[in-house]
Amino acid sequence: MPPARASAGRSRLLIVAVVILVIALIAVSAYALIPKQTAKLPIELWYNNSNHYGSTEVAVALALQNSIASCGKVQVTLKSDVWTAYKTRWTQQQMPMFLLGWYPDYFDTDDYISPFLAISGAKSEGSFYNNSQVDQWVRDEASTSDPAIRADRFAKIQAALVEDVPYIPLWSGAAQVAYVNGVQNVELHPVSYKWFIVNKPGATQLNASTSDHIIDLDPASAYDFMSIEVINQVFDTLLVYDAKNTTLLPGLATRVPTVANGDVSADGKSYTFHLRQGVTFSDGTQFNSSVMKRSIDRTMRLDLAGSAAFLLYDVGALRADHLAGNSATGVIDTPDPYNITFHLFSPVSFFNQLMAFSVSAPVPWNYNPSGKQPSTVGSVIGTGPYVLTTHTLDSLVVLDKNPTYYKPNLYAVDGISSVPVMNRVVINIRSSDAALKQDIETKTVDVAFRTISPVDLADLQARQSSLGITVKLGSSPQIRFLVFNVNLIPDKRVRQAIAYSVDRGAINSLVFLGQATPLYSMVPSDLPFASPVFQGRYGDAQCASANALLSQAGYAIELQRELVAVARDR
């Protein structure tokens, strides 16, 4: 090789070596200078994005994400889906942590416990919590009316809840109503809003609006808030709630069955109701024990898709199996027209509450025996204070006074001499919560009931005097909570850590403008046996405690691998 060419080759080699050296130096410097990310526990937080829980859900998810992530050791990824897919996902165990809500069927502590912590209930609600001891305690409390035993079992169950953390209770909702000044008897009842006690002095017609929709007015089918609301005005049940609280009063029955008065058997498996005589449906037909039995059998036999029939045959223990059809011979006994006895297959301590639920409302003998009854005027027939006189789908409901209502003095003890108070109630159904606000702002209606957004509600509250309206907030039986799929997040220390880091105050102030009530047990505070167990154990936004749990022996890194493995498997 000539010397000149050899020299040029060496120069090229030198240039290449220098370039490599410079690149290596840059890489090393960058590695040293760029801050290293510490390992964080990655968790998905799911929420519903199709307004199943209203328009605030994304804000709730963001507030939760922020409160958990701000502690520094958990990386929360938000994910969402429409309700149909959402429910499928939790059933198929695709969501490790998700937001859920609950509205009770019957106003008993059991309805805030068994659907979540009994083994079958926990599977349905997506936590897959499986604790046979807790399951036994749930069976114990559900089968006895002895307050001492129930108190003991509920205390033990709530202690297990706070230790194992399959759920984190977050807040209970606020019932809300806005009405024009002068309207009276607007009671935010914990179970059912009673239109038939509302009074507008000097008028015969009450105009109202709501953004809830009616799905079905057949008691055998209805299982949504507004349908049940209307049913509660048009139909009646054996037992009814007091005008202002959850005390059960006689309705179509003449007294409330108890062990003391002999109407409940000592083993808690037989309930006898003595029926009021001379009661007629609004079509003029008679109400008696045969009609009552036929109504209950009809609901169980039809077992309509999406209905609450299972509350009778499964929760209410009126059937020992899940075979279709009427109750077995002898289960519902009607010895005469005015007595009816239910023989349950297992003791149900809250059976009276089930008999106060709309699914137990008697319907006339000629109601469709093989399918659901149409929800049209003339086909919706009950014994309640009102009669349905107009029903335009998703737009308008008009209720007129039932001239044959059997018990106008129902709430005389509460100072309401005769119900229904107004001759006519007109309920406009709106498509949005903004429309409700406009309705009450312009006084197009006298009462706007459910659901005004927190921002609009705060605005109306601030302008109550100038608008001449009253905004009333009350406690709602609805609870909201986080669910952990314990199979996807099996280490309870992780769940406990997140329980420490959740900040209910931030959710309440940021999303609900202080209108919600922080919740520290799955049982709301106004129910018997409620104990705010999460408050004492975890409090709110306790990052130090949360991080201490997560930091134990490099735990977060191990868990991260575990979750990645789970994700890869799926």
Binding site: W83, T88, Y103, I215, Y223, A305, T390, S431, T442, T444
Partner: protein
Amino acid sequence: MARDGSLLAYVLARMALAIPMLLILLTAVFIVLRVLPGDPILALWGGHTPPQPAIDAARQQLGLDQPIPVQYVTYLRNIFTGNFGLSIGETYRGQSVWTQISTRFPATLEIAIGGMAVASLVGIPLGVLGGSNRDKPIDLAVRMFGTIIWVIPIFWLGLVLQLVFGVWLQWLPANGRWTGADTPCSVPSSCAVRTGMYTVDSLIEGNLGHFVNAVAHLILPSVTLGLVLSGFFAKTVRANMLRTVSADFTEAARARGVPRRAIVYRHAFKNALVPVVTVLGLQFAILFAGAVLTEKTFSIEGIGILLLNSVTSKDMTMIQGVVVFYATIIVIISLVIDVIGAMIDPRIRL
């Protein structure tokens, strides 16, 4: 006679073509709905979950326990025999699909007609003005109006109009289709025919108070929808006017001393209208599927909200029913457009 016959043959051929189109559409909808994630049956009970036998019974009641091919055949048979079935979604659970569609369609039709009327009254004259005054200030103003109004979010415009005229001034009702308990023709004996369109029904029963009530509720949604559409109308008409104003036949008319006004309105405008009618007609058809944002803003329960709620709850029977209904409407309106086009432009009939 021969010309009429050819038009009839054309109409029949178009109708025959609609059948395979409908079949393809139905099949696509059927497949898509079953591929999408989510089980509508599980969602029927909201956040509650009944025992498994109750879920199985529901699946059986609604025919969803059958193999997919059997479901498909049943579905087609039902559709072509006019049986739209019952809703299987959470929002309209168990309700008749046809009842929902037929109850809501009059509301949608009313705001569609109202919106089209406003859009035509505002958009077409503006388009003519702009097209016949090319590059003049008035043309510039029309172009700006067309662009700005067309891009305004319809719900925002609706909310502003609601706030101003419904809440602040309280000149017009802000929400719904009706105020009061006695909707038009609610007493069956008061009307020989009931259309469900409150404006029409109140005229049928001869009740002026009811008519005013119905029209008052229709004004804000119609103006909202119409104003937004008028931008599109103005731009479409203007573009076609520009084409016809400079066409040979208008030049010829001008050379013969025909007055400008007559050239614009008798020759240019009429010829510009043919493609405009096609576009506007299809826009009208789209509105039949529901002006969902307008309906939502003004709490009018029409087809748009029905479709929206059905999609989010994966209500397969309801979605299928609405799609069939909508497809039928499109076919009918397309035919009507063609006939109108033929009436405006004689060449089409040749």
